[in-house]
């Protein structure tokens, strides 16, 4: 980086500046990469060596047992399938709701704009709380169905505001007026002028919603009873939390031998697959991220300027 061909020679200060820059970049890369490499190494190392601290960067006592167990662990794959479904369906629903809503709010000729925005903003600061929300979802008959994961929280007001600001700043109103004069209806303006110009914000919103749904477990925890509907994160959570249960089984008074034995076996299983499932579960997001990243920077920046 520092020794490319320059027409003008770097001054001393320039060179020092660049060296410092390099050091910072290397530091940043190490900080970001270390945990990643650690988890990858840990996932194929003997759990014994990981816990004792002997494995700290590169794999030690390489074993594929963790992945073998994961491959055979039906709950994980069922959860995987459900998560993929939730992510695609949920993101689609969210986009279908967010983009038109944000567009409507961005139109200067929409008279109820202020009132609606205020109304929505209120929900950002005040909400019913867990129990009333649960009661509502139950009353709507959504408890223990996929809809409880997809519909409540399908729209985020923050995302609507960001999208609205994008429309306001990057799709000139004059252009839409021109289209109108040429005889385009509102729907035509939206579908043929605005949407084609909005690829960055759509990509960003898809990423926001998609990653959000991918990582969420709480609504599943609250609304779902049927194990077959559990998303991946819920399955992972169970595996990881069960490991702590071993500790409490040893601590808690009056534990029966059977309970202690059960917890011991569980924690042994968790130790083997813990790091592997972390990788398996975050791999798709890691793979998708770089492709959407170029939109990401552009979209959020533009949106946030006038937010």
């Amino acid at each position: 980086m520092t020794n490319t061909n320059h027409l003008i020679k770097d001054t001393r200060a320039d060179r020092i500046f660049k060296i410092v820059l390099d050091i910072f970049i290397i530091l940043a890369v190490v900080i970001v990469l270390y945990p990643l490499i650690y988890i990858i190494s840990a996932s194929i190392s003997d759990p014994q060596l990981v816990n004792s601290g002997e494995m700290w960067l590169l794999p030690k006592g390489v074993t594929w047992k963790g992945y073998e167990v994961i491959l055979k662990y039906k709950d994980i794959w069922r959860g995987y399938g459900m998560t993929i479904f939730y992510t695609f369906a949920g993101t689609a629903i969210s986009l279908i709701l967010t983009i038109p809503c944000a567009y409507a709010l961005s139109r200067p000729d929409f008279s109820g704009k202020k009132w609606f925005t205020t109304f929505m903003l209120i929900t950002m600061f005040l909400n019913g709380g867990l129990i009333p929300t649960y009661l509502l979802v139950r009353a709507l008959g959504m408890v223990n169905t996929v809809w409880a994961i997809l519909l409540p929280g399908a729209v985020s007001v923050y995302n609507i505001i960001v999208t609205r600001s994008f429309f306001q700043s990057s799709v000139p109103w004059e252009m839409q007026e021109a289209a109108k004069i040429d005889g385009a209806s509102d729907f035509q303006i939206f579908f043929r002028i605005v949407l084609p110009l909005s690829a960055p914000i759509i990509a960003v919103m898809a990423l926001f919603y998609g990653v959000g749904i991918w990582n969420s477990y709480f609504s599943a925890l609250v609304y779902l009873q049927n194990k077959a509907l559990y998303p991946l994160q819920m399955v992972l959570r169970q595996i990881l939390v069960l490991q702590d249960l071993q500790q409490s089984a040893a601590t808690g008074g009056g534990v029966t031998a059977s309970a202690a034995e059960a917890a011991y076996n569980k924690s042994a299983l968790a130790a083997i697959i813990k790091y592997g499932v972390m990788i398996v579960s975050s791999l798709p997001v890691i793979i998708v991220y770089p492709f959407l990243q170029r939109f990401f920077v552009k979209g959020v920046l533009i949106g946030s300027l006038k937010g």
Binding site: Q48, S52, A139, D244
Partner: protein, 550 residues
């Protein structure tokens, strides 16, 4: 604002309200429908089935993740036997507490709350939800519909005292623990037997000083024989699991309230506690107590154990930490209770043998009587065996031994190594505390590897023997299982939290030497400033109630 706009806004609002109320109505309709149509249920008071007409109830219980409850053969078999059927709602054990609170708060209650355990259906919960009428009082129904449980209560008066809330009602049935490990307050401390052998230790330490000397030898004489001074004589995670045992050296059984005779006192400001801190600080300063005690995770501790670096450690069975086989684990002796200058008579904490909060009936239940009859069978040895091991032909079969006696042996394909896996799939009695009479010393209810094999294996025999020698003669329940009244609970809620945090933090500081022991008086003063008087007063009142109860 223009008039047209106002009209539009109002109409939108009306629409919204209309939609909401519509949903509300619908909900009401469906909830009344579910309680209707449950006429009187006739319940038989003896034998099976319990009800003539099929009864369907909902049951909520934690799931340990091995199998769906509806697929468990024991429950299916019992449903046929009793004619009581269930729709199960079993959230994962890890999140059961959240789900249970949600069920209470939203009044979306199951008919029966099963195996919740004292951490989820706490004593405070019983008092609160009982007084709100969400839980059904059971004491009037028990004599008629739960004769087996009633018999247990008569045999051991402490049961009734410990499960009766201050308003005189019983809201929840406990697990009654008998037999082998029921005396354990928590998993015991274990010595590394190989190290003892190497150092030629014939007799385990009996006093605090002897214990210190042994730890010192562990540290300096290279008992694991690898030539490195990597031995850790004593280790734990934040002292949570060794504290009750180590405090007992100084006559204390918990770092909270404890009763000395009928007088309740708060242990962390007693002189014995100061002696405990002094002793532990000495161990820490000389490297006898693991330097990582306050920072390591359970996994890290176990890793040390399996690398043969630990001398004394706590676990349910020693081989959970050492990773040895059960045959080797027989050589790891249980810790012998110690005496010290402030405690001349050895004492250790004892489990009250009752675990509360495992069976409650809610106001939604159409037949509390049938529900009680259903669970009552589990409070017999035969019923408990049925619940935990299933009917004949699943994991065990009947056989006759040489003397012509009937014994139970493993079914084909089942052995001691895989029996727990099989059990996990067929019964809820795996990894949970259930409403049952748990554990027995009756060899009729033990499964043998072959008809002429002994009823219990060598390891269990060893553990039972150690428990009889080292825990039974010294055990004392630190504090009885009491209930606080709602008002009492409210008056100490904040104090309880503050005390707990401050005491554990200070403990770590004193032991590691961050705070010198010369600051003891200051520490006592701070605690006294936290309204500890009221705290002790409340527990004294609760103790007196417990003592006076019949």
């Amino acid at each position: 604002m223009h008039l047209s706009k106002i009209i539009r806004n109002v109409s939108i609002m009306t629409l919204a309200v209309l939609t909401l109320t519509a949903c509300g109505n619908k909900a009401k309709d469906s909830s009344t429908a579910s309680t209707e149509g449950n006429g009187k249920v006739t319940v038989e008071t003896t034998g099976f089935p319990i009800v003539k007409d099929k009864l369907k109830l909902t049951l909520m219980a934690p799931n340990v993740g091995e199998a769906e409850w509806k697929d468990m053969s024991v429950l299916q078999d019992y449903a046929k036997k009793t004619n009581v059927n269930f729709k199960f709602n079993t959230p994962p054990q890890s999140d059961f507490g959240t789900k249970l609170n949600l069920a209470f708060a939203s009044q979306d209650l199951p008919d029966i709350i099963f195996a919740a355990g004292k951490d989820n259906l706490t004593a405070a919960n019983e008092v609160t939800y009982g007084s709100q009428g969400l839980l059904v009082p059971l004491e009037k129904l028990i004599p008629k519909y739960a004769p087996n449980f009633n018999k247990l209560m008569k045999e051991d008066p402490s049961i009734k005292k410990s499960i009766t809330a201050p308003d005189g009602h019983i809201y929840s049935l406990p697990m009654i623990q008998r037999g082998a490990n029921s005396a354990w307050y928590l998993g015991p401390l274990w010595y590394n037997g190989e190290w003892l052998q190497k150092l030629g230790v014939k007799e385990l330490p009996k006093t605090a000083d002897e214990f210190y000397d042994l730890l010192k030898r562990f540290k300096t004489e290279d008992p694991n024989g690898n030539g490195k001074a990597d031995e850790i004589p004593l280790s734990d995670v934040k002292l949570d699991t060794t504290r009750p045992w180590l405090m007992s050296i100084f006559g204390l059984l918990s770092n909270d309230v404890q009763n000395d005779g009928d007088k309740v006192f708060y242990t962390p400001i007693s002189n014995q506690y100061k002696a405990y801190l002094t002793y532990m600080h000495k161990l820490y300063a000389e490297g006898l107590l693991d330097k990582d005690t306050f920072s390591q995770s359970n996994d890290q501790k176990k890793a040390k154990g399996s690398a043969d670096r630990l001398g004394v450690f706590q676990d349910y069975y020693s081989y959970f930490t050492t990773g040895r086989s059960t045959t080797e684990a027989i050589n790891d002796p249980m810790w012998q209770p110690l005496t010290s200058s402030v405690s001349k008579k050895a004492v250790v904490p004892l489990n009250p043998r009752i675990s509360r909060g495992n069976f409650s009936i809610t106001k939604e239940n159409p037949s509390p009587a049938a529900s009680l009859r259903w669970v009552d069978y589990f409070y017999t040895e035969a019923g408990d065996f049925y619940l935990t091991k299933g009917p004949a032909g699943k994991i065990w079969v009947n056989a006759k031994n040489k003397e012509g006696k009937n014994v139970k042996v493993y079914a084909s394909g089942v052995n001691a190594d895989n029996v727990e896996d099989k059990r996990a799939k067929m019964t809820p009695a795996y990894g949970l505390t259930l409403p049952e009479l748990s554990g027995t010393e009756n060899t009729n209810y033990m499964i043998r590897s072959s008809a002429d094999a002994p009823a219990i294996d060598d390891f269990t025999k060893f553990v039972n023997q150690e428990t009889k020698e080292k825990i039974d003669p010294y055990g004392k329940v630190p504090f009885p299982l009491i209930y606080l009244k709602k008002s009492e609970q409210n008056s100490i809620d904040a104090t309880a939290n503050d005390l707990k945090t401050y005491v554990t933090q200070s403990e770590a500081k004193f032991i590691t030497g961050v705070t010198p022991l010369s600051d003891w008086d200051k520490y006592v003063k701070t605690i006294e400033g936290m309204n500890v008087k009221q705290y002790v007063k409340v527990y004294q009142a609760a103790y007196d109630r417990w003592k006076a109860a019949k």
